[in-house]
Structure formats: structure tokens, C-alpha cells
Amino acid sequence: MTERAAAVPLADRGYLTERGFRAWATTLDHKRIGVMYLFTTLFFFLVGGLFAIVIRLKLMTPGPGFISDHTYNVFFTIHGALMIFIFVIPAIPSSLGNFFIPLLIGARDVAFPRLNLFSYWLFVAGICVVFGSLLNPMDTGWTFYAPYSTRTAAAVTVLAFGLFMTGMSTILTGLNFVVTIHKLRAPGMTWYRMPLFIWAMYATSIINVLATPVIGITFLLLAAERLFGIGFFDPAKGGDPLLFQHFFWFYSHPVVYVMILPAMGIISEVIPVFARKPIFGYKAIAYSALAIAFISFLVWGHHMFVSGMSTVAGVIFSFLTFFVAVPTGIKIFNWIATLYKGSIHLDSPMLYALTFIFHFIIGGLTGMFLGALGTDVHVHDTYFLVGHFHYTIMGGTIMGLFAGLHYWFPKMTGRLLDELRAKLAWLFIIVGFNVTFFPMFILGYLGMPRRYAEYPPRFQTLHIVSTVGSWVLTIGIAIMFLNFLRCMRKGQPAPANPWRALTLEWQTASPPATDNFETIPTVTTWPYGYGKKGDAGE
């Protein structure tokens, strides 16, 4: 497939035909908006990654390093805040969701195209405000726990307003998707004929719409506290620091499912296509997404077992937490069952999808230690926790995003990716990722607290292992991104349906025309009829 010649001209550039800044900046086309989101979020993924590399370099030595402790604190805060609020939360929903929800349900666009464009520019404006706060950079950690965040000299108020704006943009996008999925499905597309990615995005959007306003009001209260000297969260003024934590996690726990559900949706799309088998337990996967969304609102307190919250509350939250494991487990079992007796093609999207499952099993199982009260007391706020969420978010969500990018690259760009380079990148990423983050479980069990700029020398060996792993991971990411950039311009023209998939986005041109379909298709069957029952691809 490698073609070292000049760019191969595409016969039809579809929605990419119009060029120039204005054509992009004022577009109402969900696909272009999705592409803009994709470039924006991936850019900040790379920026956040650079901070991570510096953090790992600093941690190679236990004592004072080449950056001061304060700078280290600023760096891990920026890494966390950028990665969470500006990359992971919008990464899949706003980019791939925007691009593919209308295509997958057979619509011409989202329900409110203007609102869609507005939420993109609101997102960009929010990022600008967040970067304005870097004049006096934040050193609070991405969790902004009061009272430290109400007392620090850093520009927390500015940051809070910036994140309020990006949150608002997330709400509007979620609202748009809810209405789109309800009202714009193609004729014949019943709820049970929707692709599982749509179910996942529906659950995600519900969480976004209902949880994000709570972090909005929390940021407003934090800003009011700093501006007017109020004491909502500062005990010195009659406030309650635990109230902040409750508010914060009431949003931030559901939001980890905002991060993971879309990735699970992508996996549910990729696995059946590359295993040439119908997805196992379609309804179970669909309803488990909704179940996860629902339960996610009831478990926020498991972040606070040692916070000073009452023992009774801790017990209740721990009990509810284990309910999340059931639907999550169902999904994993279903994906593995889908592979059984399949005809499996290990192309790059499938490799990333399998990697997602591999990492997410580890991430999920280590969650047991954090969800159980007795063991959480020990591993909470240590590197065990850092390992756990990197396995779920980086090893899960981001692998899901990569699977989606490799799967849909031909559809988005009209060109094929270089498979060899994609697989090489995958090899570096899976090795680098595990070498970086697995030692953290051991570190955490041995008692290495998180957010430590300096640490007792006895932890150094494992930190060095982890840092070396981060270099391997970086090489993998670099290969992957260079491959994307190269194939965007020079890849082989892609056919309409390179993977022989059955969902609607593959039944139209690559790249799709501005209005997606020649005529809106009429749906007569569910999208996972692979195998012997009249597989369109065979």
C-alpha cells in the first residue's frame, strides 16, 4: 500500500471541496465542525503529552530536579486540566461524534447546525481564556480542591471562567446530539436498529447535559469566593470544604463515563466488522451504556472515602460503586464473545480495539481495589490511583479514539492509511504504555503518594522504568501522528467501504458529500448482520 510518489489526486473531494479559512470557520456542516474539533483536541493532546514527558523526566530523580517543585506542580496541573477538560471530554463526542452521528443514523446534519458551530467557537474562546490564566499559572491540581484553590495566588478565577465556557460548549453539543438522535433518524431506523456507537453517544450526551451544569455552578461559586471574599468552601468563613468535593465529584465522576462510553461505542462498531460476526448481546450492550450513565450519578462519593465524609456515606457509595462494574463487565464479555469463531482481520483499527479491551480489563480490575473501602484507604491518592485512571482513560478512551481514527480515516479523508506504519506505531504504543503505567500500581501499593515532586529514594527504580516507558510511548504516538499527516495528503484514494461494514456511513462516498447522502436511505435491518445471513460484504 505504500506509495512514495506525489499526492494521488482524489476524484471527488466531497465535503472537503471548499477551501479557505472562511469556508471552514463559518461552516454549518457537522463533518467540518467535527474535523475542526478533532484538530483542536488532538493538538492539545500533544501539548498535554509534552507536559507529561517533562513530569516523567523530573521524576527520574528523587530529589530536587531541573525544574523547581512549584514548576512541577504547575506542570502536572496543566497536564491534568488540559488532558481532562480540553482533550478527553470533547475528544470523541465533539469530533467523531459530530462527524458520524448524522452519518450513522442517516441524517443530513445535526438538529441545530448553527448551535453546533457556536459551541465550537465557544470551546475555542474557552481555551483562550484558560490560556490567559497561564500568566499566573495554576498549581492546584486538576481537582481544584478548596480551600487551597481559594487561597493560592494563581489565576484560578480566570481558569474557572475558561472551563465554564468549555463546559457550556460541551452542554450545547450534548443537547444537539440528544435531539439529533431522537428526531433525525432515517426512516426505518428504530431504536434497536441504531448502531451501538449511537447508543453510547446518547448515554454520553445525557450525562453531559445533566452533569456539566453542576461543575459550572461549582466554578462560579469558586470564582465568587475569590472575587467577593465569600466563604462557601473556606471553613475559616463558615464554609464547608467537603461541599466543594461533593459538587466537584458529582460532575467529575459521571464525566469519566463521558470519557469512556464513546470509546466503548467505537469498540462495539469495530469488533463486529473485523470479526465478520454479529455483535454479541446487542441489547445488553445498548442498555448497559444507559445503565452506566444512570449509575454514574450515584457513586461520586467513592472519591471521598478518606476525605472526612461520614462512614455511613462511604459504605453506601462503595456499595453503589460495585453496581457500575456489572454493566461494564457485560460489555467486555460481549466483545470477547463476539470474537468467538469469527473470521478476524487484525488490521490497525482492530488492533487498537483489542488493546482497548486489554487495558480496560486491567483498569477495571484495579478499580475494585479503589472501590472497596478497606483497600481504598491505603491506595487512595497514591500512584495506584494514577495507574488506574491512566489505564482506563489513556489505555481505554484514547485507544478507543485511535481505533476510531484508524477505522474512520478513509471515510473522513477519502484516503487509506499506511497499515505498516500504523501497526508499528501500535507496537510502540502498547509496549510503551504498559511499561509506563504498570509500575505505578506497585509504586502506589508501596505508598508513593501522587502529586509528589520529590520522593523517598527507595521508589526511584520504578520511576525510572516508568520514565523510560514514556519515551517508547512518545515514539509510538509520533509515528502514528506523522502517519496521519502523511496519508491525509498522499494516501491511496479510499473506496466507499474499505472494511466491508454494514453501517450507513459506509454506504455513501468517501469522503461524504456536504449533505451526506444522495437520498436518505431507508433502514430495514440492524447493522450487525455479518456472517452467513446475507453479509453485504461477502
Partner: protein
């Protein structure tokens, strides 16, 4: 790009339903936004009952009650306006929108008098948790009133240009639903802050 005839699903007939679902979803987020404040109110009220009682006595119930009446009337006039445009009465709609805007302005005017009276007595957000909540809640509500006035003004301009008719009144209805929500929030705020100290 050849342009095709619009799909049946995109015809104007489908728009109100879409828009209505959109606005209700948006109001759900608003409920959660204010819900955070109501939660804070509950927590602090349980924590400092005596302070809440002594502080609430300093609020002016007359202003509060007057504002409640003003807002309920404004909701009523929006509802009359929507009923009017459904029958195609454009002039009646314009009149109702103007009345609503005037009432909203009256609400903010009374709020201004009330707040400046507090400031004159040295009551600021940092005075106590109760007043911090009082200012935050009524302030956030006032911001919503202003946003609503912006939307109503837009509707008035569009109505004067003759955009609305018996067949097409979606934006007015959406604005109306939002305005009723703003009203409803006040219906909760008024007793919580002014009546049950």
C-alpha cells in the same frame, strides 16, 4: 454540489418538535445549575439554622412579594401572546411582548432598589453565608432575566418584521417556555429566601 429538494423530515413541520425537545433539554441543564445552589442552601441551612433565621429577617418581604407578582404577570402576558400568534394575531403578539419586557424591566428595577438598600445597610455577599447565597441565587436569576429580555427583544424585532404567523411561531414558543422557567425559579427562590427563615 447539486442541490436536492429538501427531505420530508427537514420540512418546517418537524421543526417545532425538534426545537421543543431542545429547549426542554436545555432547561434540564438549567435545573441542575440552580440545583447546585439549592443543594448548597440546604447544606448551609442545616449547618447554620440560627444565622439563617436572624439574617432572613433583614430581607424586605414587600420587595420580594412585589417582584413575584410582577414576574407572574409577565409569564401570563407571554402566554397570551403565544395564544394570539397561534391564531395569527400579530399585533396582539407585539403588544404582549412589549408588556412582558416592561414587566421584566420593572422586576430588575425593584431588584436594583432592593440591593442598593442592602448595600446602604452594609450587607454584602461576604457578610454571612446566608447573604452569600442570597446574592448568588438572586444574582444568577437576575442574569437569566436579562438573557430572557434579550431573547424577548429579538422576538419583538422579528415580530415587527412580520416573521411570525399562525403557521410559524416556533421561536416565540421557545422563548415563552424559557421565560416560564425563569419565572418558576423565582417561585422557588422567593419562599426559600424571604418566607421560611
Amino acid at each position: 454540489m447539486s442541490s436536492r429538494p429538501p427531505e420530508p423530515s427537514l420540512a418546517p413541520a418537524g421543526a417545532p418538535e425538534k426545537a421543543r425537545l431542545g429547549i426542554w433539554t436545555f432547561l434540564a441543564t438549567e435545573v441542575l445549575l440552580f440545583g447546585g445552589l439549592f443543594t448548597a442552601y440546604t447544606v448551609f441551612r442545616i449547618a447554620h439554622p440560627a444565622q439563617f433565621h436572624s439574617d432572613y429577617l433583614q430581607l424586605n418581604r414587600l420587595f420580594g412579594a412585589l417582584n413575584t407578582v410582577v414576574l407572574i404577570c409577565s409569564s401570563l402576558s407571554v402566554a397570551i401572546g403565544i395564544a394570539a400568534i397561534r391564531q395569527g394575531k400579530e399585533r396582539a403578539l407585539q403588544r404582549c411582548l412589549i408588556i412582558t419586557l416592561l414587566l421584566a424591566a420593572a422586576f430588575l428595577g425593584i431588584k436594583y432598589l432592593e440591593w442598593s438598600d442592602h448595600f446602604a445597610h452594609g450587607i454584602y455577599p461576604r457578610t454571612s453565608i446566608f447573604f452569600a447565597l442570597y446574592y448568588t441565587m438572586t444574582g444568577l436569576h437576575a442574569l437569566h432575566v436579562m438573557a430572557g429580555m434579550g431573547a424577548l427583544t429579538t422576538m419583538l424585532v422579528l415580530a415587527r418584521r412580520g416573521k411570525f404567523s399562525a403557521e410559524y411561531s416556533t421561536p416565540v414558543e421557545i422563548t415563552g417556555i424559557y421565560w416560564h422557567f425563569v419565572d418558576l425559579v423565582w417561585i422557588y427562590l422567593f419562599p426559600l429566601l424571604y418566607l421560611i427563615g
